[in-house]
Point group: C2
Chain length 429, copies 2
């Protein structure tokens, strides 16, 4: 066994430099906790000069992955390159060569996590990815260890910092969607092409990872997730939400319903007193309900160089300890159940709907008939007249199933005097 734990680092971007910084700055504590020094030996990056400028002579800089793969000293590979096909290739090769892997790559884990975990087991290797979901929130470890003795009923997360920042600006400072997006882009929270964030895809990937771990349903994929983003959320809806006692948040929900699981991402009306309602700006939080443990919430930075790098280094340390204890590749969470996806009849929530209707006698009766037909009742109603002979009707329903919702939406579509502008899920208080 080597006298130190040698790490190969793939990708020297923001998180990569953060990892190097933390290993250097906290060396004393890390060595004490692990029982041996943890050292970055080789860094893979296309820009070798940048790498050499950053590390000086202390690290080998290379653009050839084989320099890491074929180095018997290196026992842990940290993958931070992002691009999924390359990441998958490198990780597969590393695991096949008996090297343990830490990744912060949510796309990779959501898409190929099950396969890579299988490969890790086969090769008696560890494969950890705490940083892939809500970087600064140690939620994966909490779910697998602290909830080990409990049955998890529900996981709800604000797991995308960009959209949470935007919604906070809209709610607290009256920004429009476009203004909020422009500011997020200016501050570096959002990409030039913000699709992955604002359309809910990023959150959906994280919810797939959370759902697998929480419920042992390892066959869940992105295709099983109902995904909506925040493009339809207007200042008008945010004001209505506040008037009704809610905050609108982009929430990922993974829920056990009987033996089935429902996973969805979308804007949700969260009651003001709920812990998730006061998670603001770019912060993340994951709210977990256990059968025995009750409600818990884990709050922290969702992204950022150092928070994400801290999660990566904690995973590296975990593996380093396993190496020294001789138990790598042995301590897997083998909890697995059959993956059943909930039907539209099983998924039940109250719903917020905002409609524009022609302002004439009998119109509300039409609406009432549609809901009565679907056997759905109203919890709250607001009607405001508009200038153009139309009226706005806002409805919060009592809990109804997705199947009932589909029926109602269809009936509204068939009625030319009635236009459903938006509808969002409401979290029960």
């Amino acid at each position: 066994m080597a006298d130190k734990i040698y790490v190969g680092l793939l990708g020297l971007g923001t998180i990569g430099t953060g990892v190097a910084r933390i290993i250097a700055d906290h060396q004393n504590k890390i060595t004490q906790v692990v029982g041996q020094e943890v050292v970055i030996k080789t860094v893979l990056d296309r820009d070798i000069e940048k790498c050499q400028n950053f590390f000086g002579d202390t690290v080998n800089c290379t653009d050839n992955f084989d320099d890491i793969l074929n180095d018997a000293d290196i026992s842990v590979v940290v993958e931070l390159i992002g691009y999924v096909p390359a990441a998958k290739e490198y990780i597969s090769k590393a695991l096949s060569a008996g090297k343990h892997v830490v990744s912060a790559n949510k796309d990779l884990v959501a898409l190929h996590g099950k396969e890579l975990m299988g490969l890790a087991k086969e090769n008696k290797c560890d494969f950890l990815y705490e940083a892939a979901v809500a970087g600064g929130v140690p939620i994966l470890r909490a779910i697998t260890e602290s909830f080990a003795s409990d049955n998890i009923k529900k996981v709800m997360g604000i797991v995308n910092g960009t959209t949470n920042f935007m919604m906070t600006k809209m709610d607290k400072e009256g920004y429009s969607y476009d203004e909020a997006l422009a500011l997020a882009q200016k501050l570096g929270f959002a990409e030039k092409n913000p699709t992955s964030d604002v359309d809910g895809l990023d959150a959906a990937r994280k919810m797939v990872i959370l759902a697998r771990l929480a419920f042992g349903t390892n066959d869940i994929t992105l295709d099983d997730v109902t995904i909506a983003g925040i493009r339809d959320v207007s200042i008008e809806d945010i004001k209505l939400a506040n008037r009704l006692g809610y905050k609108i948040k982009l929430i990922g929900t993974a829920e056990k319903i009987g033996d089935s699981v429902n996973v969805e991402v979308g804007p949700v009306f969260v009651p003001e007193a709920h812990p998730l309602a006061s998670v603001n700006n770019e912060m993340n939080a994951v709210y977990v309900v256990g059968e025995a443990l009750g409600e818990t919430m884990f709050y922290g930075a969702g992204a950022g160089e150092l928070p994400t790098a801290t999660a990566v280094v904690s995973d590296v340390m975990n593996i380093a300890k396993n190496i020294l204890l001789g138990i790598t590749g042995k301590n897997f969470n083998d909890y697995e159940v059959e993956t059943l996806i909930a039907t539209p009849e099983q998924v039940i929530n109250p719903e917020f709907m905002r409609l524009e209707v022609t302002d004439r006698a009998g119109q509300f009766l039409e609406l009432a008939k549609i809901f009565a037909q679907a056997e759905v009742s109203f919890d709250k109603i607001i009607q405001d007249p508009l200038d153009n002979g139309k009226a706005i009707i806002v409805i919060v329903t009592h809990p109804m199933s997705k199947a009932q919702e589909i029926e109602i939406l269809q009936a509204m579509e068939d009625n030319e005097d009635m236009k459903l502008k938006v509808h969002f899920k409401v979290l029960e208080g």
Copy 2:
């Protein structure tokens, strides 16, 4: 090795029955995660009949600890008896006999944790106590594992559910201190003799445990903690706090200042936007600031049969996995630094003060002189006249040291026209 993991349970109170229930109800998941069945074999309780009524024939009920100590099948002892001298004796004997121990006993761990951990190491045994601090919040594991790669700067906790329930009733529903206490007692949150809760001692014990783990300062004891309770918090102060944009919470703080540590418990003015401000009712939360990870918060039930029992069973499962991996007594957190306690000059905070002064010209000048003398400046001032020729003066200071505070308090005491009614720490926004 036995074919199952056999547990000996000491004490069949609320938590004990919870532990039994969780092991029975979640048996399927527990067996999958551990890789072997976990079974309660013997229960120690004075009331053997109650034990037999609860378990039927499935468990041995005894009032003699030797039946557990001398049973080679039993590898894990769960201590839930509370009374410290007996708990300490049983745990010491169990560890000396090579049995692993799980405890939920904060008093025991705060008082004798270091000694018992030493005994565990000596005997190559595990000794875990996640349930001792904020039962339903997996904070000890988060601190030792997820923050392993980070230097923790500060831990702030609402770690006493009883007082948080009382403060919430006072803040939200205008209860007086006495009314809030009576309700807490009626609901079973507070003991008949509420001293340990309302005087801050319970929170202080938990903060000792948190401080040791967070900073590696294992020599911290209760004597190093500055402790104040909530008896002095009046509705008047709560209203003033709200007027100034704060919530008053009983907060335990453990803070690294240079190489020193300050641990204190007391009512704190928490800015309304701070995550701790919206932790209400009997819920607990621990807010941790890491050098790299930034701010995080862990929220959940502080007590209760099932949340606490869940934490206990997760510890048992952790040990069971270690037994099967052959690494019990090896995976200790060896992070330790010298324990230095901060001086009054090092501890710096803004302070809230409410004074009653004689309402006459020059009186405010006197007050201003006292603060100028101590080189402390005002952030906010409110003066309200009273009917009796007196006035109320409320001050929020800019940050000052404890040493400056002591100087100011002394000067106020020397002035007979000035009466300091209360003073509380203010958390900077």
